[in-house]
């Protein structure tokens, strides 16, 4: 009577999938030869790749590494019976000029300084990038590195960076002293509370630090220099060039734009009207203007506003502009991450009694930044590649240098080899950033619901 009645008496064991579905055969069946259309496409693609490689590989494998000019390259290739425009690459230019492409016109006997600066950059970045594998004590070095880096590159007296560090120390001392003094006052007059004393302390500290940097620092450096002139040979900004310049601008802009972007993104979401509209205005203005315009402003217009005789370093001006440009984009990327967070996260943090900064720092930002990693890294890569635009205002980044090299009679007419080499180096940096971001995403993945 009841045909639909059914009771399972034993549970089925797990079985292996059919052999044709796993292993290399299964993979090829699924991915390369899944039906006649896909099989045809696969064969066509293999043919296409073969044709490209067949043309490219012989061009790359050309024995012209020791040639001293384009004409010499042509002779070498001609002796091999290879004629014509695409006979082979002329690698002599890279052999002769690669050092220049990397260091620009930086004095050759001082190459150790940029090399040391970038090796130390790796050391300083390690505890930030690989926080689980590198001891966190190295972070002290990371904090000091921003003062070492410019000193190594630009040189000069050691008292300069020390004086800058002292500015922070002075600011901190004044902050704690004022904070304490006002707190003591608060005990007497109960009207003043902790937040007020904190704020007064921060303002006093900032003012003290500014006074130190702008006025006292000069005397301090002068005095210390006359007592003990310790320093390394200064190098002028116009001698900077090549990848060293690109990396310097890129690293500084990347490192500064992330915190600035976070502040701007929070400002844009703030309930405080003035903060909000200042942030919105800044972001929209910077995003609405091409980077080249900003660079022109940096290279020419800024001087008009400066008092005559001020020497405001061109690389510093470019650094500021590129940083501001990047931070506007960064702010929008981070705002995207903030918007993607469910409201419940804010409410969860609020309901536990965390204040605004605590919940931003402990709950909101770690998650928003994690969500924004792909966008943040895209912006980083974009900023790094945009550093090539400084060639337009006369700085000799790799592209600017390539023009100079091609103006050399020996290498007049070289195109692909130079740009290929530059592209390869850029690719190495950008691809590593992209890979790192994927590693970071995997590491931070904690199984969202």
């Amino acid at each position: 009577m009841s045909d639909i009645g059914f009771v399972r008496t034993e549970m089925l064991p797990e079985q292996d999938p059919p052999a044709s579905e796993v292993g290399i055969i299964g993979w090829m069946r699924h991915n390369l030869f899944d039906g006649w259309f896909n099989s045809a496409l696969t064969l066509l693609s293999i043919y296409f790749v073969y044709k490209v490689l067949a043309a490219l590989v012989p061009w790359i494998l050309s024995p012209t590494w020791d040639a001293g000019s384009l004409a010499e390259c042509r002779e070498v290739l001609g002796a091999l019976g290879r004629e014509g425009h695409y006979a082979g690459a002329c690698w002599g230019v890279i052999n002769e000029r690669w050092i220049q492409l990397i260091f620009g016109f930086y004095p050759a006997e001082l190459y150790w300084r940029p090399i040391a600066a970038f090796v130390l950059l790796g050391v300083a970045l390690a505890p930030v990038l690989f926080s689980d594998k590198v001891p966190s004590k190295l972070l002290i070095f990371t904090i000091l590195y921003p003062f070492i880096f410019p000193w190594l590159l630009w040189g000069g007296t050691i008292w300069g960076p020390i004086s800058v560090v002292l500015g922070f120390v002075v600011g901190w001392l004044v902050y704690s002293a004022v904070d304490k003094a006002v707190s003591n006052l608060a005990l007497v007059y109960s009207a003043v509370d902790k937040a007020v004393s904190n704020l007064v302390g921060i303002i006093a500290g900032a003012v003290a630090a500014l006074i130190w940097w702008l006025i006292l620092s000069g005397y301090f450096v002068g005095a210390m220099d006359s007592i003990a002139a310790i320093g390394i040979e200064p190098v002028e900004s116009r001698k900077f060039g090549g990848f060293m310049l690109s990396i310097t601008i890129g690293v500084v802009a990347i490192a500064c734009s992330l915190p600035l972007g976070i502040v701007l993104a929070l400002g844009r979401q703030s309930d405080l009207m003035i903060v909000k509209y200042l942030s919105v205005g800044f972001i929209e203005f910077i995003r609405g203007v091409p980077l080249i315009t900003l660079l022109f402003v940096a290279s020419t217009l800024l001087n008009i506003f400066m008092p005559p005789g001020t020497d405001f370093d061109i690389i510093l001006r470019v650094l500021i502009m590129v940083t501001l440009f990047a931070s506007a984009y960064m702010a929008e990327v981070i705002r995207g991450g903030l918007a993607a967070l469910p409201r419940g996260q804010y409410e969860g943090a609020d309901s536990l009694g965390l204040n605004y900064w605590q919940s931003q720092r402990l709950i909101i930002m770690p998650q928003a930044l994690k969500i924004s990693i792909p966008g943040i890294v895209s912006t980083f890569i974009g900023v790094f590649k945009d550093t090539t635009l400084v060639s337009i205002i006369g700085l000799l980044d790799p592209l600017g240098l390539s023009n100079a090299i091609r103006a050399d009679a020996n290498w007049n007419g070289i195109v692909w080899e130079l740009y290929g080499f530059i592209a390869l180096l850029f690719f190495v940096f950008c691809f590593s950033m992209s890979r790192y971001s994927m590693y970071l995403e995997r590491k931070l993945h904690t199984g969202h619901r």
Binding site: P342, E347, G348, S351, L352, L354, N355, P366, H448
Partner: protein, 263 residues
Amino acid sequence: MSQLAVEREIDRSKMTVSDEVAIEIVNMNKWYGAFHVLRDINLTVNQGERIVIAGPSGSGKSTLIRCINALEEHQAGKIVVDGIELTSDLKNIDKIRSEVGMVFQHFNLFPHLTVLENCTLAPIWVRKTPRKEAEERAMHFLEKVKIPEQANKYPGQLSGGQQQRVAIARSLCMMPKIMLFDEPTSALDPEMIKEVLDTMIELAEEGMTMLCVTHEMGFARQVANRVIFMDAGQIVEQNEPEEFFNNPQSDRTKLFLSQILGH
């Protein structure tokens, strides 16, 4: 509606209502733009009370308890929690929030932190409890909600019922005087509702002051000392559970009860 009665007898020895006032709400009104969500709410909650707030969706019951810890701002009237009046003063708000625990429908655990870190975060940063002590207390409460073995997992690796119990433990770690529950079982599978309700019952047995927005009428009948029925932003009826379920007075309450208990 499910009658999720606990099988065991509830221990009522500590479930006593004191004379001290925990929450006092006087003539409170709230608007969303022009929409009048809460109308003239008057409610006094004594310490040790277990109040269930019921009502159709959109009746303002969630909004009411969210006003108590200032997740929503009220525009008129007075709310006093544990002797502190809720004003726009952020210091008062943070103080009240650290004394009032809240459990949400969607748990709102922090997915980037482990279960243990979820539980120790607020004690460490808000209460300035030493880490070791905070962790010990967190383990104590995780044992209480019966998931100490999940302490080092991330919330995303737990089932809904386990996540909600973590959320309860996280609130308890702040040693709150009052617990607010905003539909704590509405996002859970039927099999998991019971484990969360059991945790809540244990909490009630220890004398915690609780305000629960819930549709679990079995829980209301057994645990609550007062049931409040809300509709259209107003308190329509409140009574002891026995009277409320067996002898509802207003027509709106009768209709509501017939609909949710009718099948």
